[in-house]
């Protein structure tokens, strides 16, 4: 029997008042220690070569957002050429591009191909993955599992310091003769092997990025397995942590084959080997003198063995973020948490056996194609389950339309469109007509742009108060949301229409040459205009973001009245000092909102000891409620 009017703290019972005092004392001590400690950390160790997961997360976030903007800008240039083939750029842009890329202001086809390859590469490897995993994963996961930091802080720092040079190296391609890589983000040989030196740079950059991801994924898995707080069993993990865990396994196991492939391609380019080069090639009229005997499809298999799991790397952390935001803003538990986890794990497994659905038209026989079509249909089911669970979570909710919630809600139908249009691509017979058309472009942009990018926005608005102690402006957030939603649909919806008409992707003139493209070609002007408007729609966000860091409204530590552990730490937890004055203890699942028979607040944080009707639960603002005990180590 619990003693009357006492709450349990760790393994003892005490009066809430005493617990509160102890807690305050603990916080005071730890904060003053943090202050005292901060002086000892030199600037360079604190802000440049930091080993603190929170700061590394912020480094990742800023770098990845910058790359996101860069990748977007490259696309905006391409969209000019697609809307107005052969028309010179406005003078200022033409001057910026220079005469080697755009003589007379008109973009060269070579340059278009560079932009396309780099847009894809930047978006996938330098923007979304680092943002979803490097930034959100780093910042949130240790906090959500109640860990003082990542398991290997120095390794974490190295991950970032491989990622940044890898990214910069890749960008340097634009400044060498021949320009950046121009064989698509897929880099299919033999084209990529006879391509200009930018391709070598691309490979070297990839090797750095792969290494960075490998270190990162090991770190995440070990952290999640080893550093979970006491009481935080696997089935009590927030879904976001599950998503990151599965993602890390995908990165861990899928990237090495690409690394192998990159090494082989590098050998083909610099050492004259023929891994991917068959015998008897004739390049622009002259026979290629190589040993031959290689196989171009070998690259495709190795590439897609990575790149299909990679697309789930792009979406899973997003789904994780969406789950957190939805649970919080519906004020009720997620519906079907177990099926979410099960579907996520199953998705992870299956993603390794569907890769060749990108290669149906490489001369595939019936048996192999039947296999990959079947696995592709199977893998669509866990996505359906996840989405269904998230939608049904709204039933009986009390929906708060906050800015993060708006983005999270929009994610559902947008991902729905993207996912559903994967089905005709996954059936080989209907893929014959749609393969490599704008239909594919539409399909995957719906999942990554209004899908993943919206999830990233949701995450930024949601965890901003955690990282800065301030909230981003709601009004401008809503402006940002509505403009982005409209523009992004205007960009990608017409692409299905173009794709059905048979317009191929990666065309410098958007298909203007082809008869069958004539009926739909005019939509390019509309698409491009929407893309430029989408840029304008980001200004409220960018300004809001930087303004709010310094001037945003100050909010309490648990601003959203959330239940997961990160909200029990202080706002903007001090750097270089762990996260919690005392490691928290977890008593329940992650989303105990609106618990029946629970008086008072409509949420029960994971670390509040016992549901004691009437017992004062330390409200937000004070960090670390529940584990109101600190040990002052002698």
């Amino acid at each position: 029997m619990p003693p009357k009017r006492q709450i349990r703290v760790g393994n003892q019972w005490m009066y809430a008042r005493d617990a509160r005092r102890a807690l305050e004392e603990a916080i005071r001590v730890s904060e003053s220690e943090a202050k005292a400690h901060e002086h000892h950390v030199p600037f360079i160790r604190k802000y440049v070569f930091s080993t603190d997961h929170k700061w590394i997360g912020i480094q990742y976030a800023i770098t990845a957002l910058t790359f996101l903007l860069l990748g977007f800008s490259l696309m905006l240039l391409m969209r000019w050429q697609l809307a107005f083939p052969g028309k010179p750029f406005p003078a200022l842009i033409a001057k910026f591009l220079g005469s080697s890329n755009a003589p007379g202001g008109v973009m060269l086809p070579e340059f278009y191909n560079q932009l396309g390859a780099m847009h894809g590469t930047i978006m996938v490897f330098l923007a979304i993955v680092p943002l979803a995993v490097g930034a959100f994963g780093n910042y949130v996961v240790p906090l959500q599992i109640g860990a003082p930091d990542m398991a290997f802080p120095k390794l974490n720092m190295m991950s970032y310091w491989l990622y940044l040079p890898g990214g910069l190296l890749m960008m340097s391609g634009f400044f060498i003769p021949g320009g950046a890589a121009n064989s698509g983000w897929t880099s299919y040989p033999p084209l990529s092997i006879i391509a200009t030196n930018g391709q070598t740079i691309w490979i070297l950059g990839m090797v750095l990025l792969i290494t960075s991801s490998l270190l990162g994924s090991i770190n995440f898995i070990v952290t999640i397995f080893q550093l979970r707080a006491k009481g935080l069993t696997f089935m009590r993990l927030p879904f976001f942590v599950w998503a990151q865990l599965i993602t890390s396994f995908l990165l861990l196991l899928a990237f090495p084959p690409l690394e192998a492939a990159a090494i082989l391609q590098l050998m083909d380019r610099v050492a004259g080997t023929s891994f991917f080069l068959p015998s008897g090639l004739v390049i622009s009229g002259t026979p290629l003198h190589n040993a031959g005997g290689g196989n171009p499809l070998l690259w495709q298999h190795l590439f897609w063995f990575l790149a299909h799991p990679e697309v789930y790397v792009l979406i899973l952390p997003g789904m994780g973020i969406i789950s957190e935001v939805i649970a919080n803003n519906t004020r009720k538990p997620l519906w079907g948490y177990k099926s979410l986890v099960g579907a996520g794990v199953f998705l992870g497994f299956m993603s390794f056996v569907v890769w060749a659905h990108h290669m149906f038209l490489t001369g595939m026989g019936t048996a192999i194609s039947a296999f990959f079509q079947t696995t592709t249909m199977i893998i669509s089911i866990p996505s359906v389950i996840i989405l269904t669970a998230l939608i049904i979570s709204l039933w009986g909710a009390s929906i708060r339309f906050t800015v993060p919630m708006l983005f999270a809600l929009a994610f559902l139908p947008m991902f729905g469109i993207g996912g559903l249009t994967g089905l005709p691509l996954g059936l080989a017979a209907s893929d014959i007509h749609l393969h490599d058309t704008y239909y594919v472009i539409g399909h995957f942009h719906y999942v990554v742009a209004p899908g993943t990018i919206f999830a990233m926005f949701a995450g930024i608005y949601y965890w901003f108060p955690k990282a800065t102690g301030r909230q981003m402006n709601e009004f401008w957030g809503k402006v940002h949301f509505w403009l982005s939603l409209v523009c992004i649909n205007c960009i990608f919806m017409p692409m299905f229409y173009q794709g059905l008409a048979g317009v191929s992707r990666r065309l410098y003139d958007g298909g203007a040459q082809y008869m069958h493209a004539k009926p739909v070609i005019h939509t390019n002007v509309f698409i491009s205009s929407a893309a430029w408007l989408l840029l304008v729609a980001q200004f409220p966000f960018i300004i809001n973001f930087f303004y709010s860091i310094f001037k945003g409204r100050r909010v309490e530590a648990n601003h959203w009245h959330a239940t997961t552990l990160e909200w029990s730490a202080a706002s903007a937890p001090p750097l270089a000092h762990g996260n919690f004055a005392v490691l928290p203890v977890v008593y329940r699942g992650p989303y105990e909102y609106s618990v029946p028979d629970h008086e008072g607040d409509d949420y029960l944080p994971q670390n509040v000891p016992e549901d004691q009707p009437g017992a004062p639960v330390p409200a937000g603002g004070g960090a670390l409620h529940g584990t109101a005990v600190a040990q002052k180590e002698s």
Binding site: D52, P148, I218, V222, A260, L302, F305, V582, V629
Partner: protein, 220 residues
């Protein structure tokens, strides 16, 4: 009631040998296994790393199989490569896998001197392997056999080259553990021993890769 008299509900690190205070962030389970996973962080980390390495070499082995099965003709390893030298190398590596275990076992018993001796033998084995490998490479080059010659040599050089890099990496770590890294022994024996154990696991893997490479490249 003051905070100092309360017992800690969650020990920051069950196994940390020393207090440490708040000067460094203490990461739990750096030294001793977490009960439910049965591993300390470094060990789980190295197993994961090795899993990724399996995928890396797995991809290369698949490449070899695919190229070989689809080639109209493919030289036999024993016609082109030096089997005695490679056999010697196989024994050297297997031996070094034993000595690295002995090093760890001695460290567990608290004998740094013996531990270092066995580590040095391991390092020397690695060196011996690399010397023999470079002799092999040199003869190939003298006979004008380069990676570009044909796909047999391309796969041979890439796979053994990558494996060689792994050996080299292991040697660097052993060098560090024998030299400057050994200072850790004075302050934290357990951690030093763990480092040797983890490096040893890696070294076994490098050995294992060679045990696959040797028959596939040389004997088939």
């Amino acid at each position: 009631m003051t905070t100092t008299t309360l017992t800690h509900p969650v020990p920051v690190d069950d196994g940390h040998g020393h207090g440490g205070g708040h000067h460094e962030i203490e990461i739990p389970y750096t030294l001793h296994p977490r009960p439910d996973t049965g591993m300390y962080n470094g060990k789980l980390g190295i197993w994961l790393f090795l899993a990724s390495e399996v995928m890396l070499f797995g991809a290369l082995f698949s490449t070899l199989i695919l190229l070989r099965t689809s080639a109209p003709s493919w030289p036999h390893g024993w016609q082109e490569l030096n089997i005695p030298l490679a056999t010697l190398n196989t024994f050297i590596l297997i031996g070094s896998s034993v000595t690295v275990v002995l090093a760890w076992a001695n460290l567990r018993l608290g004998d740094l001197r013996k531990g270092k001796i066995f580590l040095s033998i391991t390092l020397l084995c690695g060196l011996g392997f690399m010397v023999i490998k470079s002799i092999e490479y040199a003869t190939k080059f003298r006979h004008h056999h380069f990676p570009s010659t044909n796909n047999f040599f391309a796969t041979y050089f890439v796979m053994t080259g990558l494996h060689g890099l792994h050996v080299l990496g292991g040697m660097i770590v052993f060098g560090y553990l024998i030299g400057p890294g050994a200072k850790l022994w004075e302050t934290n024996r357990d951690q030093y021993t763990n480092r040797v154990e983890v490096t040893g696991l890696y070294w076994h893997f490098v050995d294992l890769v060679w045990i696959f490479l040797f028959p596939i490249l040389y004997l088939l």
